[in-house]
């Protein structure tokens, strides 16, 4: 018989590893699509990310003399690495993924105190670190080359691409849509001119486009997000607010200056917005606790993303936006709390209503 414990003496059949597993399950369709779209090098990159993350987690726990087994198998390190891999250019060299995973786990997570203690989303912290440190490798994009196509690299060739940096001659490098539009707008071209021929909304929706490993298929990511909402791992507040945070200013700006600012669908479907809204910004550790706070957080993430895309130095801003809002999270949590039963919003006890007032 176990020692005396306090009620409740029953528990919902849930655990942290189950939550993590659900998120990974929800990521699977978009990930498999990314594998198909970019072939063996993408698979290699994903494997390296996950393997290094698990090794880093085990080593750090060991060094800190913390129990390794439980923490290692809660799935949190795998999920972090998975999200990082999805945000990398698919044919990136192995060391980029390894370095990113190492940074995410050791610096962004364990140095802050391990699971639940990190101020910033570890995957995004790692991505931003890589983007600043290795701008070339982090922005070398590739036109889709499905694994089933004749031109796609075979398994051995894939290994060479990931581990030896040998890029085959027939691979077509291509800027992402966001990057392309940003550059050409900067050169003074009109939007119609820039988008003519390359803006294919349907391809954007399904994911037939250049971009990070797992960010391209809006439809599959959306399906994964809906799984998370249905399984109650996340609520709709952050994703919807974040999409609104991008959509509203985009709509407004497009109405004011249609020739110079891209519209709603462009902003919603490009870059890593859908991935960020459903899988990154919703990271429980670094997002607010109350629904009000979550709405503010999500909207601000979206707004910052749009601002960075429009005026910032980088074509994409999801990672920066989320990290900026991560930093604001403790303040949001301080000011946004649910109303307590029997108290008003300010925390004062309610005054009983008089008979006549009822």
């Amino acid at each position: 018989m176990t020692p005396i414990v306090h009620s409740p003496h029953a528990h919902a059949a849930t655990s942290v590893s189950q939550v993590m597993a659900t998120v990974m399950l929800a990521l699977t369709p978009a990930t498999l699509f990314g594998f198909w779209l970019y072939g063996w090098p993408a698979i290699n990159l994903w494997v390296v990310s996950l393997a290094v993350a698990v090794l880093a987690e085990a080593a750090t726990l060991k060094i800190m003399a913390r129990p390794v087994r439980g923490a290692l198998f809660d799935g949190s390190a795998l999920l972090t690495a998975w999200l990082l891999a999805l945000s990398l250019p698919p044919w990136a060299p192995w060391w980029l993924a390894a370095l990113g995973s190492l940074f995410a786990i050791v610096i962004a997570k364990q140095v802050f105190g391990g699971l639940g203690q990190n101020l910033f989303n570890p995957a995004m912290a790692a991505r931003v670190m890589l983007l600043i440190s290795f701008p070339l490798e982090m922005t070398t994009w590739l036109a889709p080359m499905p694994i089933t196509s004749a031109a796609a690299p075979g398994y051995l060739q894939g290994l060479a691409i990931t581990f030896a940096g040998v890029t085959p001659a027939d691979a077509v490098s291509s800027a992402t849509l966001l990057g392309h539009v940003k550059t050409d707008l900067g050169r003074g071209f009109g939007l119609d001119q820039i988008l003519a021929g390359i803006w294919q909304p349907l391809d954007m929706l399904w994911g037939q486009r250049g971009g990070s490993l797992g960010e391209t298929s809006a439809v599959l990511l959306l399906a994964g997000g809906l799984i998370l909402i249905a399984r109650r791992v996340i609520t709709w507040h952050i994703p919807l607010a974040m999409l609104a945070g991008v959509a509203l200013p985009a709509l407004l700006a497009h109405l004011i200056a249609p020739g110079h600012t891209p519209g709603l669908a462009y902003h919603l479907l490009s870059g890593g917005l859908i991935l960020g809204a459903f899988f990154i910004a919703t990271d429980p550790v670094s997002s607010p606790n109350s629904t009000g706070g979550q709405l503010l957080f999500g909207f601000a993430c979206g707004l910052l993303t749009w601002i960075i895309r429009t005026w910032g130095g980088y074509p994409e801003g999801v990672a920066f936006a989320v990290m900026l809002m991560n930093a604001a999270n403790p303040v949001i949590d301080r000011y946004f709390k649910p109303r307590i039963y029997g108290r008003d919003r300010k925390g004062a006890a309610l005054v009983p209503a008089k008979e006549g007032a009822k």
């Binding site: 018989m1 005396i4 009620s7 003496h9 699971l115 639940g116 039963y341 006890a349």
Partner: protein
């Protein structure tokens, strides 16, 4: 009728089917009954019998002491064989003052005449009789019912709410009672309504108990009692939440239901009130659910107060397997006990023997701030923030986050994916704060006494010095007078 919603809440697995179907059985009369003097919130009752006395069933064993207390009556006829300490139905298992009665097997009532028409009694008289019958809240809190009735008379009660929610998983004692004794319950409700002057009496029953709702609705036809089906959602049976669902009003923080004109009693209490007023029978037995997957034949028993939990388990066929955990009350708010040699008291609603699988115990992990607990909390609190402060040794900080509004319903602990024992933290901190409060009061009292003593000592010294000064002054004055007199005498001598 329009129903309102309460915030948060959880849907624990009900497991009521284990015990809900068999009718209530009487527990075979045990040879010995162990009747604690403290079965209620408030002061322990003081015994009025001696070892060796023969008592009748329903005879007064111990009288209530002070404002908040309740008397205790003999649960069967027999001889008082011991007055001493016996393990209490409490996790600590610490002994409390207990009367042991050896049954004579007759189970003979002390005859007393019920009033001809209990509805002709004045509200004061009803409250007095309810108090004399030793009735306490049978939902589990065990607050003396008469005190509640008297308190409520001072505020204007418009709505009487009868709690038939029974939202705790496993427990079906109220369910069975409502199915089988609806007429008596409704009569009891009408008596309580009469005593409080409430305009309406609403009976809230969770919609997972259709038979109970049907029986109660049928029994309430033509009376001012209205049966309302409320959604099955934990903690619907919590007073604050049930009030909110039925009236849309919230009990002000730190206040009582009476502040908003509402009084809440349990349906089991209504039955006890009916028995006391219509049959002059004090509270000497109650319905107890015996359940859990480790029990061979779960069900509900009518149990004399003071029967051992072991007797109940035995009457339900014993254990199917070694239970992982024994619980008194429901799984969400009940208390764990380490053995079954403990008596059933007025507030005992269930004896549960849970298996390892049912308990779903797990090692607590780190908080991932998923805020599932925030969504589950029916009080609008942030359990994760309160727990973080308590872990950091700052219970006062937890109070700033609403610790005192916590009703310890266990919803947060139940849903936590990291299996953090949140309610354990909260109750620990509440106890810690209460202890600090007591220590502070004690220190203040000590300080006051010390200050008074210093003051007194200083006064004594002051007075002593004053007296010495006066003595010295008197002496000086006398010497002066002496000297003057001597001088005068010398002068006279010279003159002569």
């Amino acid at each position: 009728m329009k129903l309102f919603k309460f915030r948060g809440g959880v849907h624990p697995e009900g497991r009521k089917d284990l015990s809900a179907e068999p009718p209530i059985r009487s527990l075979p009369l045990p040879e010995r009954l162990f009747v604690p003097m403290q079965q209620h919130i408030g002061a322990a009752a003081k015994h009025q019998v001696a070892v060796g006395d023969h008592v009748k069933k329903g005879q007064l064993l111990a009288a209530g002491v002070g404002m908040v207390s309740a008397p205790v009556h003999a649960p069967t006829s027999g001889r008082v064989i011991a007055i001493g300490d016996f393990p209490a139905p409490h996790p600590s298992g610490l002994p409390v003052a207990t009367l042991t009665i050896e049954s004579d097997g007759d189970d003979a009532w002390l005859e007393s005449e019920p009033p001809a028409d209990p509805f002709a009694l004045s509200p004061e008289e009803i409250a007095t009789r309810v108090g004399a019958a030793g009735i306490v809240g049978l939902g589990g809190a065990a607050f003396p019912s008469a005190v509640k009735l008297n308190l409520s008379r001072r505020s204007e009660i418009r709505t009487l709410i009868m709690n038939g929610g029974e939202c705790e998983p496993y427990l079906t004692c109220d369910d069975r009672l409502m199915r089988e004794r609806a007429r008596e319950i409704v009569e009891g409700i009408r008596l309580i309504r009469h005593a409080t002057g409430a305009r309406v009496a609403l009976v809230g029953i969770e919609d997972n108990k259709p038979e109970a709702i049907a029986a109660m609705t049928a029994a309430a036809v033509g009376s001012e009692v209205k049966v309302v089906a409320v959604p099955a959602m934990y903690p619907m049976g919590s007073e604050k939440q049930l009030i909110q669902v039925l009236t849309g009003q919230e009990v002000p923080a730190g206040g009582r239901a009476a502040d908003i004109g509402v009084l809440v009693h349990n349906v089991g209490t209504a039955y006890a009130v009916q028995q006391a007023l219509c049959h002059a029978r004090p509270l000497v037995s109650r319905i107890v659910t015996v359940s859990g997957a480790a029990i061979v034949a779960p069900g509900n028993l009518e149990v004399p107060i003071g029967a051992l939990a072991a007797d109940l388990v035995h009457a339900c066929g014993g254990f199917r397997e070694t239970p992982e955990r024994l619980v008194l009350g429901g799984p969400m708010m009940g208390t764990q006990v380490t053995g079954l040699q403990i008596p059933i008291v007025k507030g005992s609603s269930g004896v549960l023997a849970l298996t390892r699988k049912e308990v779903e115990a797990n090692q607590p992990g780190p908080c991932i701030r998923c805020s599932t607990c925030v969504r589950a909390c029916p009080m609008g609190l942030l359990p994760l923030e309160m727990a973080a402060r308590i872990r950091a040794g700052d219970p006062a900080g937890a109070v700033d986050w609403g610790l005192k509004d916590c009703i310890a319903c266990g919803s947060c602990s139940y849903v936590c994916p990291s299996h953090i024992p949140l309610v354990h933290y909260f109750n620990h901190a509440k106890g810690d704060l209460a202890a600090r409060e007591r220590l502070k009061m004690k220190n203040e009292a000590t300080k006051k006494l010390a200050d008074e003593r210093n003051e007194r000592m200083a006064r004594v010294v002051r007075e002593r010095e004053e007296a010495a000064r006066q003595r010295a002054a008197r002496k000086a004055a006398a010497e002066l007078a002496n000297a003057a007199a001597k001088k005068a005498a010398e002068k006279e001598e010279v003159a002569a």
